[in-house]
């Protein structure tokens, strides 16, 4: 790679749009590193204006095909907070289960379909050898254990329909839950093997940068409740998130970036485990110890390991939920709208997700504000790259690109963005 010059990486597909990366080097130092995300092109916040609150979850779940349940759940939390709805314990547990399903699916897809080819030096899973295809089956099976749950609770894997403000439109049958349970128990071992596999890979990659972390912290490792904690020590209430986190517009990108007290921070699996390791299911904690992994750490590649660890946690927690569950028929709660503001904060597979709505007295949306995890990570990604790229100067450009890709992929900015992230065009 030349020590001076610029290159840009065109058509990074984003979570909800497309992105490029522009880099300018001078004497081996990164002068400029801009992640240009054209998110916002779809104007979800504007589209929600004037819509009835009952339509929100189904509209926002279309923001992202992969973490639609997270968007659903977050908007539902915001709506229920706004209209003072307290759903039953059973509903909460089933929502947790659905969230688990989505995380399983999302993590498995990311790890096996997008990250693994990197580690094997392959362009895509389609080029895997017979030997390597074995791992693909691991991935598919783990994913299936998640999708089956989501399908069961939401009716469909993408753009689920059954999860609504006030409860579930339809409850699953016990026998169906039992089937999910069988599959989960079968895939436990795969999850453990997965952790070992990814830990062995990420151990070899050494890039490390000290930064702050943010996640919802709760004694049950919940993805929906808890307090927002920073690794640097600050603890804030969910509803106050935007009071502390500064959202700022960068002129080259359609997506806002965020900072906390002027500095960048990371969100996602690594942030969660860094902050909340003790709340993981026992088996997940055991394996961390067994493999001699140390959390908290600042190695972003360990985000992949963290995802793998979460896989095991998710399986164990789902197994426990299903075993303890005694399904009872219950109607959905009726919701009486009023003029007010509602906020929902949850952990999505890729990090903290924030939804805020203000409603008029009939429950129509006046204003909506959504902050997605990738927005929060963008800033950190840029800063990481500023430190990382200079270490690659000895490599030929193509190799360097691959390394950059690996780093960005470690963040799991969104599965689709990670897929063909970097296509380098040198500018003279």
């Amino acid at each position: 790679m030349h020590k001076t010059g610029c290159f840009s990486i065109k058509e990074i597909t984003k979570i909800e749009g497309h992105a490029n990366l522009d880099v300018e080097l001078k004497d081996g130092e990164v002068e400029k590193c801009q992640l240009k995300i054209y998110e916002g092109q779809r104007f979800f916040e504007d589209m929600l204006k004037g819509r009835h609150f009952s339509q929100i979850p189904l509209i926002v779940s279309r923001i992202c095909g992969l973490c639609n349940v997270s968007h659903l759940n977050t908007s539902i939390e915001a709506i229920e907070n706004a209209f003072d709805i307290n759903v039953s314990e059973q509903t909460n547990i089933l929502r947790d289960l659905a969230t688990n399903g989505e995380f399983l699916k999302s993590h498995a897809l990311h790890l096996f379909f997008l990250v693994l080819p990197d580690y094997f030096g392959k362009e895509s899973v389609l080029e895997f050898s017979k030997e390597e295809n074995k791992f693909l089956n691991w991935g598919l099976n783990l994913k299936k254990s998640g999708t089956d749950i989501v399908k069961l609770l939401g009716g469909r894997i993408y753009q689920t329909v059954g999860i609504r403000p006030g409860g579930f439109t339809m409850l699953p049958k016990q026998e169906q839950l039992d089937k999910c349970l069988l599959l989960l128990e079968k895939e436990r071992k795969t999850a453990i093997d997965t952790i070992k596999l990814f830990a062995s890979f990420s151990e070899k990659l050494s890039f490390e940068r000290k930064t702050d972390y943010l996640a919802l912290v709760d004694s049950n490792y919940s993805f929906v409740k808890g307090k927002l904690c920073f690794a640097s020590g600050k603890v804030i209430e969910e509803a106050d998130m935007l009071k502390h986190i500064e959202e700022f517009i960068v002129p080259y990108s359609n997506a806002a970036q965020t900072s906390f007290e002027g500095k960048s921070f990371r969100v996602g699996s690594l942030a969660r485990i860094n902050l909340n390791q003790k709340a993981l299911e026992p088996a997940a904690q055991d394996i961390i110890r067994e493999l001699g992994l140390s959390f908290p750490n600042n190695k972003i590649y360990h985000n992949n390991t963290a995802q793998a660890i979460e896989l095991l946690h998710l399986i164990d927690s789902s197994i426990r939920i299903i075993k303890e569950l005694k399904l009872e028929k219950e109607p959905m709660q009726e919701i009486k709208p009023k003029e007010c503001v509602g906020i929902g904060v949850t952990e999505a597979p890729r990090g903290t997700l924030y939804h805020q709505y203000s409603f008029d007295e009939k429950g129509f949306v006046k204003k909506a504000n959504i902050v997605v995890p990738t927005n929060q990570n963008n800033h950190t990604i840029e800063e990481d790259l500023k430190e990382f790229i200079p270490t690659l100067l000895d490599l030929p450009q193509e190799k360097a690109n691959l390394e950059i890709e690996k780093l960005v992929r470690a963040y799991d900015p969104c599965i689709s963005c990670a897929t063909h992230f970097l296509k380098v065009n040198w500018k003279k």
Binding site: Q41, K49, H52, G65, L66, L109, S124, M170, S416, F421
Partner: protein, 255 residues
């Protein structure tokens, strides 16, 4: 069936990309289909796009045309392929992106100004610009319908759109009708193919597969009126995934 592999590509314009993942969800069945398919381009499965020289037998395109970039890409795909399939509501009918088309002109104008990359005046389905050979509708697409399509094409059967409303499949499933329970439902005016997914979950159909040619909007709207729905609520429901039908232009009001 000929042993020559069919060259297919998956492309994505502005959308949530759920459709391509929905296809991936066919799991073993998809792996089996790979015996007959050669994936030339795919955002999900592949890292780098292969050189554009290859002619595709089938291109699946998800997403709506919102920016100039989308349009350029679409034209490029159309040129490269013999058979172009609109994958999912965004591509077929503008889908959820189309909500912005029914926003008041003032807001639309502001959105256009706010955008950093140039956007088109509205969100468009693919058919507004290029010839679309087949439509696999739905948000997200029904993976079984996708499989059925593949199966047909691979055997040389000309696929045909099923022109039946969601109610047809809803009844085949033995569901109690939501309209009779007092819940609004767009099933009677929406194309089936999803297996009446939402009504089977006790949830209203929101029209994600597009309105039927044979729809009786007036009658359905009258029914909603009898169910004490305000103009705004009815407008909201009918424009969930579709442009407001001509018959119901009375519902339009500046908000």
């Amino acid at each position: 069936m000929e042993k020559k592999k069919v060259k297919v590509g998956f492309f994505s314009l502005t959308c949530c990309e759920g459709c391509e993942f929905a296809v991936l969800d066919l799991e073993e069945k998809l792996l089996k289909a790979f015996d007959y398919l050669e994936i030339v381009e795919s955002r999900v499965l592949m890292e780098k796009i292969k050189p554009a020289a290859v002619k595709l037998d089938i291109a699946f395109v998800e997403g709506s045309v919102i920016s100039k970039h989308d349009l350029d890409k679409l034209n490029y795909i159309r040129e490269k392929t013999d058979f172009l399939v609109a994958l999912g509501s965004c591509a077929a009918i503008a889908g959820i992106n189309g909500i912005r088309n029914s926003l008041p002109e003032g807001i639309q104008e502001r959105m256009r100004q706010k955008a950093i990359t140039p956007v088109k005046e509205k969100a468009y389905p693919l058919s507004s610009f290029v010839k679309v050979d087949y439509i696999l509708n739905g948000c997200s697409v029904n993976e079984l319908e996708f499989l059925d399509f593949l199966n047909k094409v691979l055997h040389g059967v000309i696929p045909k759109l099923e022109e039946v409303p969601v109610c047809f499949e809803c009844k085949l499933k033995g569901n109690a009708c939501l309209l009779l329970k007092g819940i609004l439902c767009l099933g009677p005016v929406t194309y089936a193919g999803c297996g009446a997914l939402c009504p089977s979950q006790n949830a209203q159909c929101i029209g994600c597969r597009g309105f039927t040619k044979d729809a009786n909007f007036d009658s359905l709207d009258n029914l909603f009126k009898e169910m004490k729905q305000s103009k705004k609520e009815r407008f909201n429901l009918f424009t969930y995934f579709n442009p407001l039908p001509k018959e119901l232009s009375v519902l339009k009001e500046e908000k």
